[in-house]
Symmetry: C3
Subunit: 265 residues, 3 copies
């Protein structure tokens, strides 16, 4: 029994997500469909990329991930299928799939060029339903990839924003703000290995407008209520949080904000 996950910016009010599920179940009735989220900000490919990569690593081998954040639908961007080491990724060739696939290792990338022949009803406006969900169901039914598309090498690989490390200072960026208002930076846990960082040690955050002196803790409950602090979050990135509160509101931060973090023993 295959698993297909769905991620999109469609929201939950309309019939779009259900239409995709109907298409999948019409072709592959035993497949398990799991929603990752449909509340990606409209057209926010980076957010889709981050959330997909965060979720995908926890799914079993052979999972088919479909991600539809697709402002260019109907235009020149290609529909692609990535065969990675463990899983399949299906969606537009705009970067939304690439971080998750790269994390586990990309084996081959295919342009979904042959589905149009078998699925007569492709609309110009809803490839999520007519190409991506349809293709995912074919993969779930173990259809040969050679009948779905052709290998390509010039797929989009976005530059991932890297941190700049100088001694005990790291210049980084807010790459995601979660529903609790936690600010997730692009500092990965391994970026901190060379720093002598202990739980309880001091950190300063220098945003464009304000500075904050906070502590580095192991987990939320190490902080006092309403204390602003930093920790390695469950995504394995350095995260700025307020215990029982919202770091987003406290700092008035938004995605893309740059900051310098200085770490002390």
């Amino acid at each position: 029994m295959a698993i297909i996950t769905l991620l999109s910016d469609f929201g939950l009010k309309d019939s779009y997500v259900a239409e995709m599920k109907g298409v999948i179940l019409s072709i592959s009735p035993d497949t398990k469909i799991i929603d990752i989220t449909h509340k990606i900000e409209e057209f926010d490919i980076e957010m889709g990329m981050f959330v997909l990569a965060s979720a995908a690593r926890y799914f079993p081998d052979g999972t088919i991930h479909v991600a539809v954040v697709d402002p260019g639908v109907g235009g020149k961007r290609r529909p692609i299928l990535i065969k990675a080491k463990r899983n399949y990724y299906i969606g537009p060739d705009n970067g939304v799939l690439t971080l998750a696939a790269k994390n586990e290792g990309i084996e081959n990338v295919y342009c979904i060029s042959k589905v149009a022949i078998s699925n007569q009803k492709i609309s110009a406006t809803f490839h999520g339903r007519d190409i991506f969900a349809y293709t995912a169901a074919l993969v779930a039914e173990r259809r040969k990839i050679s009948s779905i598309g052709e290998r390509i090498d010039d797929y989009l690989m976005p530059e991932f924003k890297k941190v700049k490390i100088i001694d005990n200072e790291i210049i980084c960026e807010i790459i995601h703000i979660d529903g609790f208002g936690n600010l997730i930076t692009n500092i990965f846990s391994t970026d901190l290995y060379n720093l002598k960082l202990n739980f309880g040690s001091n950190i300063t955050l220098q945003f464009e407008k304000n500075d904050y002196s906070i502590k580095f803790y192991r987990t939320y409950s190490d902080a006092h209520p309403r204390e602003l602090f930093a920790l390695i979050g469950s995504h394995n990135y350095l995260e700025i949080a307020e215990n029982y509160g919202s770091a987003k509101n406290r700092i008035n931060a938004k995605k893309g904000d740059k900051l310098k973090i200085t770490f002390y023993d």
Copy 2:
């Protein structure tokens, strides 16, 4: 293995949807339950009707669709089951089921009059759980319809708002606004067959307050960013959209707004 879909105006914060699922799985544990949406505007039967009809056509034969937009719960409106050509529709007799069922062809309509006898625990306030979900599970278990209800002929068939076509002018109405702010009119694609309409041709929209000169395109990416335009959307209705934006906010439109559209070569 049966498929039951659920649509309601219950929202996602409360236990109501889960209670329905618990009832279904208690009777029919192998059934697959798919949410269409639970974010229909409160008591908005028309929106429920539109979203159900949009989604239902993509589900496989034999799907059991349950729709609960039910301001009259506990009153005189009857609970009904529609056996249509391909699928079953279960919900209140207030029109929410009728468009989807009519699209595929209604075979018979039943008043769910006999379920009360087998399900002792019917509340006066939550027929979604106690009658509709319960009945859907019985249908999924292939219980005879004669044990569920009696045929009726006087079910509600709402008048669907029709467009008025005079030469190259169509008087129509906004019947749905999706999460992207696209304005979906009641002009069906076939209403345009007699017009010589080419991609790139000109259109004028006359709303009560403002007029707009726009173009008719094949898909979103044919428009410039922020360009207002018209297209045949994935529902097969004419739709007014803003590329990378919200036509709803641009025009300040709401559901039910009437407008005259003039089409040029």
Copy 3:
């Protein structure tokens, strides 16, 4: 085939819920996963307790309910598994599980102390994924509870707010406000047995700021549009509602508001 339900305050934008589902399906691929809700107000243990208890009673025997409203994650609060008469409850030992489990009868409570040994990857910040979902999947796979944890007796049993009844007056409290704006009190249907209460009889509500004279009805459609009234809701609690409207907005009430209700023949 086991059923696992999930309830949390994680919201639907992030990858957190999907990560839990991925963990479950990696261990127990045939399990059915049902969302109760992920829109519990942040850290609102009482709301989680109420919604879980409302939903759980409708699920079949043997269901495994996971509830993660967990402000103390990573701290001293213990992760627990409750074996109740019909179902399993897994989550933090902060009260969120206790009402549902108590309703059906608690058999044994276990501290989940042995999962850390088998699941190496426990983070300090996301026990929902690394302990609770993981443990639920083990239970779904019929792993022996003795391999999961040790019995404890000092688990948290919150005091449930009781009503005070003096003749025909009841002092009570708003314990939940649903998505329709219905105000659900802590007056259970059985609290009203000694009162001669007929449908159509009069009631007065005395809030701190305002009084309301309303009627007691059987169901929503017994009230006129926009009429404020009381009924026994589908949770079996006395509920204050406005037909086709929001009692919450009408009264400007919030959760925790106290009031005195007087019942007349």
